[in-house]
């Protein structure tokens, strides 16, 4: 199934060139979790901090559905 993935800040290079947060279409096996998606994209485990699915914060064992929009952030802060 196909989902859309956006990687931010230091994770950006793991989806190839392009601006931070640019959505990229990714093919994943049905029933895959965010954790499995992170492995597929070879994201360094310590760098995966906050994950959004369709704008809602989800943990790594959240099961993805066809057409989901996923955003993944490393640890960040500001204010």
């Amino acid at each position: 199934m196909k989902i859309t993935v956006k990687l931010f800040a230091t994770l950006r290079p793991y989806l190839g060139e392009g601006a931070s947060g640019t959505p990229v279409s990714v093919e994943i096996p049905p029933g895959a979790t965010i954790g499995q998606l992170a492995e597929l994209l070879k994201l360094p485990p310590g760098e995966v901090k906050i994950c959004f699915v369709n704008g809602k914060i989800c943990d790594l064992n959240h099961v993805l559905a066809d057409g989901d929009e996923v955003g993944i952030f490393p640890p960040i802060g500001g204010g």
Partner: protein, 584 residues
């Protein structure tokens, strides 16, 4: 330690030992307690009975990392309540080095339109001298700041106010120098600039030459605490060198707030901005890299900061447009106005710094004016023009300079994102409920720094909490507000919280540092209690000024208009809002 009282009625001053009841207060704790004790709550904020108080934190002027914060307090012309705004600057360290625990500006000169500056030097104790400054008024700050360094040398720190303050705007900050002698570090919120200008005071120049430095009672304990704090800041992913803050600056939050559907857009009508990636911290980093031909990491706003989150924006020729463009400014002048042109956002930020305006209040006010149809959303050149009108003090400029609430009233706008007259910062309360509780209940008017529940609600710092749920958020906001009141007294930048809320030894480090300086034996419980006492003093002042719990409420539109994309309203019951202070 000393209290220095400057009387602007007759340009005299008095230096006294710190009274015993104030000995263990600093920063916000000291400014708020002094204002609560000495300023008549019903006085006019720009009249002779208001007082402007400067106090550095317990640790300012010591070698504690990231500890050069200065608190500025008074009754606010924007909210009508008590105000504390703080900034990071060498000025804080210099005030502390001269052992000035509080600098209190009182009275008002009879001469209308006349301005003075003061210098404070060390001659066995602090010595104040006055100099005429009327010739520096009516000009942008970058044109007059260098004159202080020419006159008083390189070893000084400079505090000043700009044209916005001279016009008496509720939107006007007090500015301090950064590490490059630029007037860019603002105690921005709540109109502290106008209070200073109302006293005929344009500049406060500090020269610490010969001063004894901050006394430390228990040096071994202080060193132990300092090491724990440094370890925490150097280890935590957010605060470490080349970590998120050092690389992308605070504007790294643009994308995550947008993703969460909580980035207020076009005057708080949506939680998503399609232009977010073009103004985000990552875009700033990449744009600078392209224009300068190298990766540029951020710098410190003040001596001794090891987080170093301040960015610089360069134009196509590689020249500086502005420094620093913070998340809040980037958002208010960008997303909230529907503007996605990074160079124009940087230009707007530079103009706010030049005129002495608070960037948060400026952007949100322009967005309200856009809603009213004064200019269209997204019109960055029109926005630049409006900021010039504010600087010049034209009739429309004065309306805007009075802030978002006044602008909304003048133009008959119903969607006005303010609490207690102060505009909301860059987090949508309908998408992040805890921060909404902080906005509603803090004594300061809408203020994210007063209780930054974004840490657990969005950033996964100190656990994770669902941002869309109101459950348990009143207690969360209360705990954050009390802790923050103490951190705002410590002299540390609030950003140490990212590290010490996750790393317990860092939190203990802060307590050890303060105990080391004062010779106290405070515990974690004690500092929470102190934080609560500060909030209670502020609250008492506000109630006496006519700002009670009825003012601890969200604007009506947030309770009735669902916010895309999550289509939530602000659904925190009034009883929960009231419990924040009732159960403090």
């Amino acid at each position: 330690m000393f209290f220095v009282r400057v009387n602007m009625n007759d340009r005299t001053y008095q230096v006294t030992e710190t009274p015993p009841e104030y000995r263990h207060l600093a920063g916000r704790g000291l400014t708020s307690t002094l204002v609560a004790n000495e300023v008549p709550p019903l006085c006019h904020p720009l009249g002779p009975n208001n007082k402007l108080v400067f106090a550095a934190g317990f640790l300012s002027g010591t070698s504690a990392p990231t500890s050069a914060r200065i608190s500025v307090g008074a009754k606010s012309p924007l909210t009508g309540g008590i105000k504390e705004a703080n900034a990071g600057t060498s000025w804080a360290a210099d005030l502390a080095a001269m052992n000035i625990q509080a600098l209190i500006i009182e009275g008002q000169p009879k001469e209308k339109g006349a301005y003075w500056g003061i210098t404070i030097t060390w001659e066995g104790k602090p010595k104040v001298e006055f100099f005429e400054s009327t010739q520096y008024t009516g000009k942008v700050l970058p044109d007059v700041y260098p004159a202080m360094y020419e006159k008083y040398g390189d070893k000084i720190s400079v505090c000043g106010v700009g044209m916005a303050a001279e016009h008496g705007y509720g939107n006007s900050g007090v500015v301090f120098n950064d590490m490059h002698k630029r007037p860019t570090r603002y105690a921005g919120r709540g109109g502290m600039g106008a209070v200073m200008a109302s006293k005929g005071l344009k500049f406060i120049v500090l020269n610490r030459m010969g001063a004894p430095g901050m006394p430390i009672v228990d040096k071994a304990l202080f060193e132990e605490g300092r090491k724990k704090m440094i370890d925490a800041l150097r280890t935590h992913a957010i605060t470490k060198p080349k970590g998120a803050l050092n690389t992308y600056g605070t504007a790294v939050l643009i994308n995550i707030m947008n993703e969460a559907g909580g980035l207020p857009t076009r005057n708080f009508s949506s939680g998503r901005f399609e232009g977010a990636p073009r103004i985000a911290g990552e875009a700033i980093f990449e744009t600078n890299k392209k224009r300068k031909g190298e990766e540029i990491y951020n710098h410190a706003c003040s001596p001794g900061c090891i987080i170093q989150c301040s960015n610089t924006i360069f134009d196509e020729k590689g020249d500086e447009i502005t420094s620093c463009l913070e998340y809040e400014s980037d958002w208010s002048l960008g997303a909230d106005c529907g503007i996605d042109n990074l160079d124009d956002v940087a230009q707007l930020n530079a103009l706010c710094n030049a005129y002495g305006l608070d960037t948060i209040e400026t952007g949100t006010t322009i967005a309200v004016a856009m809603e009213a149809g004064v200019i269209p959303f997204g019109d960055s050149k029109g926005a630049i023009n409006l900021v010039h009108e504010m600087g010049k003090g034209t009739p429309i400029g004065r309306i805007l300079g009075a802030g978002a609430a006044t602008t909304g009233r003048v133009y008959g706008v119903t969607r006005v994102p303010v609490v207690k007259g102060q505009a909301m910062p860059a987090y949508e309360p309908r998408a992040v409920k805890g921060i909404g509780i902080t906005y509603a209940t803090t004594t300061m008017g809408a203020d994210h720094t007063a209780g930054y529940t974004i840490a657990p609600e969005i950033l996964g710092v100190m656990g994770k909490q669902d941002p869309l749920s109101p459950e348990g958020k009143a207690a969360l906001s209360r705990a954050f507000q009390a802790t923050t009141a103490f951190i705002d007294s410590s002299g540390h930048c609030l950003f140490i919280a990212f590290a010490i809320l996750d790393i317990a030894s860092g939190y203990q480090g802060m307590i050890d540092e303060v105990n080391g300086v004062l010779g106290t034996s405070w515990t974690a419980d004690d500092i929470l209690k102190q934080g609560a006492e500060i909030l209670k003093a502020e609250r008492r002042f506000n109630e006496a000024a006519g700002i009670g719990k009825e003012a601890d409420r969200m604007p009506e539109f947030m309770k009735t208009e669902p916010l895309p994309p999550h289509n939530n309203v602000f659904d925190v019951p009034d009883a929960a809002l009231d419990s924040v202070f009732a159960e403090l």
